[in-house]
Amino acid sequence: MTRLAVLDAGTYYHHRTIYEDRYRDHFDRIIYTRELADADLSDIDVLLVSCRTDPSIMKPRKDQIAAFLASGKTVVAMGSTGHPEWLPGVYWTDTPTNFWWWLEGDEIGLKVAAPDHPLLRRLSLADFTWHYHGYFKVPEGAVSLVDVGDFGSIFYEDTVSTPGRMLITSLDPMYHHGSHFMPATTRFLDGFLPFLKEVHAPLRQGA
């Protein structure tokens, strides 16, 4: 069984998402973000960097993360974590947050880009659909699951930039679920966390 560790940044919304009964059993280990430097990750297959984890704490952990990926393991980086500062090959474009797209009659412009991906068997496009904070340029060989228009991706999988696997998203479901806000974010976690427990690691041992 895949062993999943999650970072806890100490906020109320991480507490609700990680420690309350709904998702607690998905997490084999909980690591307080400020204790990551001293954490032994050797028994972990997937490291989930929770949305809104402080990038100033992640940036000094760049080598630790790189070593984890080099051993063929999986890093999941959610939104507002400053991905490019501590992950290789991540290209981010910040945009004003479109909080009110649903009220202003705008199309949010999200579309499924990889309908056959296993995660899309658990989640529909509606479960990915709330405001986003920007988008990523997908490296060549990586796979976008959800695009925003023709601009870029809000969720992609990269198994080419490192020996491991990176799941990169701009979405921040823990913040909103943890704030008792926005049912789509709860639906997202309902599908996404079980999916992470199915990620087999090491991904490409010896590759």
Partner: protein
Amino acid sequence: MASCLFLKPIKGAGNDLPDVGDHVPDIDTIEHYALETVDLTPYRALCLPAHLDQRFFGTLTAKIERFLDGGGTLVFNGHVAWPMLPEFHTFQPLDRFNLDALQIYRLKEHPVFEGVATEELTYRRGVAGFYARGCNPPPEGAILLHGVGPDRLPCDWVYERPGGGRIFMHAGNDLWMYVGSQDTTARIAPQLCAWAAGSGEFQ
């Protein structure tokens, strides 16, 4: 030296929030984890963001209690999840989030909310639910300011500690997120700072 010290949210959060310093004079801001070393004695008030590392803040209880004992005012936003202060109790959410449940009611007038319409707390651009979705249960003796829903869960309260100092509690997003708004909620942040910077006596 300003009167009110604002703690910045953890980085990675709060980039989409307005800068309160653009709208309210007489404040200082510090980085989140600088709270551990900053000298609080020159300040009348410490204002905490909802994006608070509560595990970190919970390690500073002795420092915060000294600040309160000295007559300081602590402004807390967000949901209480971790042990921090004895006056804090774990967030209690509403049991449903329909329109009726999300109504905000004024329980007592207070200088921070003077001239602020409760309708404009309940609704933001016609949508309910941004202001509060439950409460951090108050200690005995707290003055209840706003309640949410039919049961009037006390989402806002102020407490004068017997040992000195005051705690101003808001169980929701930062009260200063309304700075620069076009309605009466724009009054909150300047009134909060003026009140928090005032004397230790209840004003």
